[in-house]
Symmetry: D2
Subunit: 446 residues, 4 copies
């Protein structure tokens, strides 16, 4: 996961990119960066931290130019480093270039080894550097041709924004796994963003999504953009996780509003089995729409019985002797007044390791709930995702190692229910295909 | 508004106070501070910023001691300054002392003038300094007697925690306007806090509220506390605004759960008038419980159709040409997919100046809502509060200057409804009295 | 030690004060602060750190007004705290006031106890707060009279700058222990500073010193100042340490250039005893002028054989196994090429604890010096200073506990020589008296 | 200019490198960085600022390993950027590598263009990246062979430290333009540094200089090092500027102590022409030894009549109306008491643009000097240096555009004298050759 944004033909490009990144902060909190092209030179500012930490008003004002790209990086534990912030800038054969990337290249290691064997040097751990090298090494004459050349060598999930001195190339892989949409600014400029919620904040109008396998070229000073279909064998499969928990509920992903899809997932859960309970409660915030859908379908009253504290930020976590489950409690507090002696249905978006669910159930029991029935608005996660989502290894995925009943017992619930894969697909719309690797293990990218 | 916390007989007093303040961050984001008493000396750390900005793990570890008090300061525009952080510390006749204070002393100017005339010096704008001076100038022999002396000279809304070398005095004014509750820590220590949500996070058990006009004395090493009734003529009137929007929904204020009171306010709104609409939506987060109550009572479906971005933090606000209503949009984004061509009921907690409501309605119209009916889960605010809430002057209060219909027209709604004062009182419980000054102009404190 | 500065009738008062403090950074590196009076209100900014750390261009620009006072605080180990930065500001009976203070009040504890008994509260450890309280408690009608009143109650070494809304009062104690001089700015304004080197930097012209026991009143908009002699029984005794090592060599203290006095001290050392040696070297920087004087008088060649590193700043000091004497070596590096097999005379300004001298001698021996003769351009320090200099207790003063020969042996020198007190006095000028407490134990202040 | 340091076989390698960089802070204040190799991985920390700003105790403690290299970067106006800090790290064919570099590659642009044509990408403006690319692209099997390969393609002045997982390669170009010396640590480790003053601070013993055209290989765990002579056609020419003003006076450059050479330069100046004057004064700090030599030779008394303020740091420079020559005055203050009505000889190390000399002379005149005779302890600078020194273009070099008499008139001196080139060479030792490009325009590097 990550967020990318591009702005062109706006005399406040860096500011528009800034607010675009701000509205997509949920897609990445580790680092943030913006490149602008001005006076034939590209300037980049990037650093670790939230968008509002990395960029002051003065910094944005200093990033002049009509063309900008930006990036929010997701915090991936372990192999990330201070250098792994984007955009990635380079001087190369055709001048200056800057790239932002959302996704994951599955052949990154082999490409990197190949490049390294040919004498390339790498200054970070990011697969984005691969693309830069491939473009720089292509023998083609124009940047456009070189990008085409480079993309022939990479395999995986990617949305790319590539900025030269006066152009932005917006590219989506042939499966369209990650989303990328185009909006029009009021002053004839364009904004390209991972999620449409960015358009709402900056006052842009949604035009259309970049299509799977498509490259769109925006040029400074031109009101029209050009489209090139890069691949013939496209096989569109938007990632189901965008609907399940990545995207903001107010975003429209590939034509479907996320909030409505989540509500529908809740309705499907309610239809699966008749069930007697006193309350339906969501694990906030991502479980809210599904819990509403469940409540509307089942008639069981909906309550926000778990209160979420949104100030978490950089709190250190070091419990005193008497504090239990501190990490979960810093965020979530169930209310005894609502839960005591009640039979409750709890709606969550997924179970990954099972540890958080276990702790939430402990807190709900402590608050006096009589019965706790967990309903997950997604299927069991049995396989690691390789297409840009930070899921743990198979060993750590609880559903890869336990049956539904064992998981139920482990987390301490009275019952546990998941969606079936086809139920998920039906709720999202069975007229098209999806990336469902975490659920079905079908690693379709070749 | 502000948050105060005290901890005694805990060998991790500063850490417990830290998490207590963290859970009450919503009551004040301007500055934060903690004093500890250790080895017969009081040490204080305070600074501007959120709790998590002001205190690092190392800073908390350096604040040793079994006894601590802490404070979050509410951001009051205009007359606040860098020096106006609490606790306020002083050396005085009986040794060292530190004080935190939630509320507002209505005779602060006259007391301050009196003290200044007698030769006192003031190093901040806080009325808390008055109390320190009065204690220091009292001729009584013990701190307890001096506090009693000092309190005889001050009039207003106050919850105080006063820390000497080895004691904490917890005091509430005779009207009990601001809340203050006592919890028991697992290791026989106590925590005193403005809101009970602090107890949940630190694993403490609610014991009871400090009573109006009561002073409770906690002593280091003693498992029992002592209570003294300071005033005979008590007239308990908890502030209605705690229920309306100050307190966290998971707090219990004077025996009543805030979430449940807010839901009841929504039910009452629904009962007031039959109404045809397609959706009930809250202005998040504070409008959520009332909207749920309204929906349950009226049968009109509830939707979270306005999405709130919780990352707002320190974003600078400087719109581009094409951005309108940026300040509101940074926080709130209405979803066209849910609102288009719908008749909607919007539940909010209050209308103060009317400017925010006006902008929200613009955004809702832009999202295609056909009819917009605003229901406020509180009466019209016609008078400035003087008891610790930062309401603007009469001139700026829209309902002090316009009729309900004029306000409706000004904000651009299709209809507008408030609660009557007695409806509010009934929902909170008519068996007791409330501070309702903003609504009825009854400035009862003498 | 400390530095104070005042500026009046300059439309860039804070900037002039800033550069004044910058030029006097050697007198205090712990904290820095400036108060300005503008629009009938006093604003203060102060923080820990060097002048250039505490004040940015923007901060200075924000401190508007034609009148300013400033302070650099000396780093005194142990009992200093974050709160002990100056200026000290207060609201009091006559309005707003801000004070800076260089010196030490010897009756500070008794005055503080007296004030506390009367109900005063203290928010720092600084004796400057005493003066504020005394002024606030005086029953006189004007600030001028109140200051006179207050000064009657304090005893000690002090130079004060007291700023009201539109005036600066510059005051020196009746012994004139600490220096304070007046300079005229080109635009008819004035600058008052601890040292005349401040005048050189800001382009001011030296007018005269504030006299012992004198109060000078500068008023906004007035080109003339008023002088009041506060005490009849003046007994002028400028502190000898200003000449020995406090003041910058380019300052003129009470009419005598510091560099020239130090050179003369070196000459006197040379005249004391004929001596055969190959080189005279200073411990830089303060020993340089005396070493030059010694060289000129004795004919023994002067060399800068110890190189000083001026970047020391905030280096942490944690030697590796192979590093010895790191703390001294970070600053001072003797050159083997110059010292090997040489008989050297080393000129230093004083010996306090003896530990630094011991380490320097180790380094000189390691560099191959054949004979090391230490000459101190001051008498033996046998008594703690109480008049504003941070000397340690008698127990730690090596010359209070050892004879000259014992000290010589302890530090490992081949010979050791001090000045006699009368030699010091003659070099500074025997026509007047000096504060010599560290040398003669005559605590003359009453 | 820059400083480089390498440490191997020390269990406190990063700390030793830190203190080495600290002692060479004068060679570069813009940025600082250290790489360590630990557990088969290289970690780098670098940032803008002084050594003591960039590295805290904690940061150094976190840089574990027995092998480290470090760098201080000189502030070169204009084309430097935030990214231009060293060491430069990369992953490449043989694993991980980190490089530090002092000097300037004169064919850097052609090499860079060549590399770029072949598809290389550059992420900074530093020529150090060239070397990394050349090593990465070499087809040889070992790092040693690849370095040899790479060095065949570069031309210029360079001292390099190249760190692989377990080795440090120390390399000096065949002219030996920049210095590089080897020291032995007490625990059988080695330190390699630009200047020998680094050895003094860390307690290392000087072994020998790296020879021109030599590569020395240090290996983890081995007490012996290996030497390889890379070039046959060596032509040793240490840069004369190291003696003139770069190096610290306590360093020994190519066997000669810098202080002594500078003193000799002063003596030569004195011998050139008999001269009547009252005082010889240096422009501190670099002019001090030459002024001492001049004084000893001529018999004219030496005085430190210009006082230098060492706190300059990051002061902003924005004079008030009455401040003139602020930039020079922040550093230098001439003393009227010493200069008034005197005929003075001023010794400085060089005249580059002439603007600083002009301002110093204004200040000396303002201080009352009767005659001002400028003696420069170096020849006229008529040509830009290309071998690692930041001299301006020919257009800005005053001596490239004016005769000595014109310069004298421009700066306002009563007389002006430079050294002849052969006088400089004789003082440094005529038995060897020097890089003298700034003086003679002989760009010998091919």
């Amino acid at each position: 996961m990550c967020a990318i944004v591009g702005v062109i033909n706006s005399n406040e490009a860096s500011k528009t990119a800034y607010y675009g990144l701000f509205s997509m902060q949920h897609r990445g909190q580790e680092s943030s960066g913006i490149s602008v092209s001005y006076n034939h030179h590209i300037t980049t500012h990037k650093a670790q931290g939230l968008v509002t930490d990395v960029f002051s008003r003065e910094k944005i004002a200093s990033l002049k130019g009509n063309i900008a790209i930006g990036h929010n990086r997701y915090s991936t534990a372990g192999n990330s480093s201070k250098n792994d912030a984007q955009p990635v800038f380079a001087n190369y054969d055709l001048g200056e270039i800057s790239i932002v990337h959302n996704g994951n290249l599955i052949n990154k290691n082999s490409v990197r080894q190949e490049l390294i064997k040919e004498g390339a040097i790498f200054q970070s751990n990011m697969d984005t550097e691969n693309i830069l090298h491939l473009i720089a090494r292509s023998k083609k004459e124009t940047l456009k041709e070189r990008i085409v050349d480079a993309l022939n060598d990479i395999v995986g999930a990617y949305c790319l924004l590539i900025m030269g001195r006066s152009k932005i190339f917006a590219i989506r892989d042939k499966y369209g796994i990650r989303p990328l949409s185009i909006g029009r600014l009021k002053d004839a400029g364009y904004i390209i963003a991972s999620e449409t919620c960015a358009f709402d904040l900056v006052g842009a109008e949604f035009i259309r999504d970049v299509k799977p396998g498509e490259m769109i070229i925006f040029e400074e000073g031109k009101t029209e953009y050009t489209s090139i279909q890069l691949f013939e064998d496209i096989d569109p499969r938007i990632c189901a996780f965008e609907y399940v928990y990545f995207a903001r509920p107010d975003s429209t992903v590939e034509g479907k509003n996320v909030y409505n899809v989540r509500k529908e997932l809740g309705r499907v859960l309610a239809k699966k089995s008749k069930f007697e309970a006193d309350l339906v409660i969501p694990v906030p915030d991502s479980g809210v729409p599904a819990a509403l859908g469940y409540s509307q379908e089942s008639g069981i009253p909906f309550e926000m019985a778990i209160v979420r504290n949104h100030y978490v930020g950089r709190t250190f976590i070091e419990p005193t002797q008497e504090m239990r489950n501190l990490k979960v409690k810093l965020k979530l507090n169930p209310m005894e007044e609502l839960l005591k002696d009640k039979r409750i249905v709890v709606i969550d978006d997924s179970i990954v390791r099972g540890t958080t669910s276990k702790k939430i159930i402990e807190l709900l029991k402590h608050a006096g709930a009589k019965e706790i029935h967990i309903k997950i608005a997604a299927p069991e996660i049995k396989f690691p995702d390789l297409y840009g989502i930070d899921t743990p290894t198979t060993k750590e995925l609880i559903s890869a190692n336990m049956s539904k009943d064992e998981v139920c017992k482990y987390i301490g619930a009275d019952s546990l229910e998941f969606l079936e894969i086809d139920e998920l697909v039906n709720a999202m719309g069975s007229e098209r295909k999806y990336s469902l690797v975490s659920f079905d293990g079908n690693y379709f990218v070749k």
